[in-house]
Point group: C2
Chain length 202, copies 2
């Protein structure tokens, strides 16, 4: 879908008066961009430990990139469900069930973006210490983009949860996310400070 289309047309559709692509897809794109920058730094670094990091950043980048389109696909189902007829009681029930099913599926995508960004930003600590100093600002930028992709996806999880009635799923989803929130912020802060220190020659 969008992944193999041009950047220009993605941005045009994002800005247009159409429900997709929206913030969830954008979060995945920014996450993939952040992970891509970590890969670039790893690609220019020589230590053995960095090669293992590269495998991980590349896997994460590809998974995040796939979610750019996946979010559009699941969100289209949500939009379609809301457009179902709701005049008769049977129609109402059917529509309500379709909405709940679509929202459940839709909430899994930004949740996945959150998890993948958390995995990726974890890798910044080692990269910022051992990565090639000529590209060190790219670790800082990568961490910055991954944190904002995480926060953006989190907001999208929240908005999906608001429409959901399955209390158990809501509690479970929040339980997964809660510990990640502080960790992602801490990883970003550490990577950012160390990036600046290495830029200063520290």
């Amino acid at each position: 879908m969008y992944l193999d289309g041009s950047i220009r047309s993605y941005l045009d559709d994002l800005a247009a008066k159409r429900p997709t692509p929206g913030g969830g897809s954008a979060a995945a794109l920014v996450g993939a961009t952040g992970a891509g920058l970590l890969s670039m730094v790893a690609n220019f670094s020589k230590e053995e430990v960095i090669k293992k990091i590269l495998q991980k950043t590349e896997d994460l980048r590809r998974e995040l990139a796939e979610l750019v389109d996946r979010d559009v696909a699941v969100y289209q189902k949500v939009s379609a469900a809301y457009k179902l007829p709701k005049e008769k009681p049977t129609q109402k029930r059917r529509r309500s069930k379709a909405i709940q099913d679509a929202l459940k599926e839709a909430s899994t995508v930004p949740l996945e973006v959150c998890k993948l960004c958390h995995e990726a930003i974890k890798l910044c600590g080692e990269l910022v210490e051992k990565g090639n100093v000529s590209l060190i600002s790219d670790v800082g930028v990568g961490a910055c983009l991954l944190e904002s992709a995480f926060q953006s996806a989190l907001l999208n999880v929240e908005i999906n949860l608001k429409g959901l009635k399955d209390e158990k799923l809501i509690v479970e989803t929040r339980k997964i996310l809660e510990p990640l929130i502080g960790e992602v912020h801490a990883y970003k802060e550490t990577a950012w400070e160390k990036t600046k220190a290495r830029m200063e020659g520290g």
Copy 2:
């Protein structure tokens, strides 16, 4: 260049062992994505004041998108300058001048990204109050992405300034950026809190 190529191949090149595209171009892409989300919200809102905002977000989005490629072009000149021969004194002088010229030009691009992101994030205040509530999370995401694009571009300005010898230009550039740093953060925080309040029905 990249703007009319696929998202997939942009991400592949970003991650690859090649100097471009790098963090400056990525910052422009994330800025354009953030501005695009603001446009989407504006497109779904009806008030007259929002139409004026839409014109601005669309202009900013297009300018930021162009800088995705522009950053690659100017950074390629920096890379080329560093590769010039430096054996003889005349070569050394020529190389040094070419590096300074290329760095000067290169530093204008992330500086422009900073200015445009600052312009765009300013618009979040009105959008988050008057924008269509169904899309309100997209204002929050837009603000979040614009702040991280600003910070990312700022880091790229800093790294370019480190290589520059023109003290006057360094001082002037920092003078432009300094007031923007706090403002961008404040705009983001306000937009983020108000987004959450409107998501809660406030």
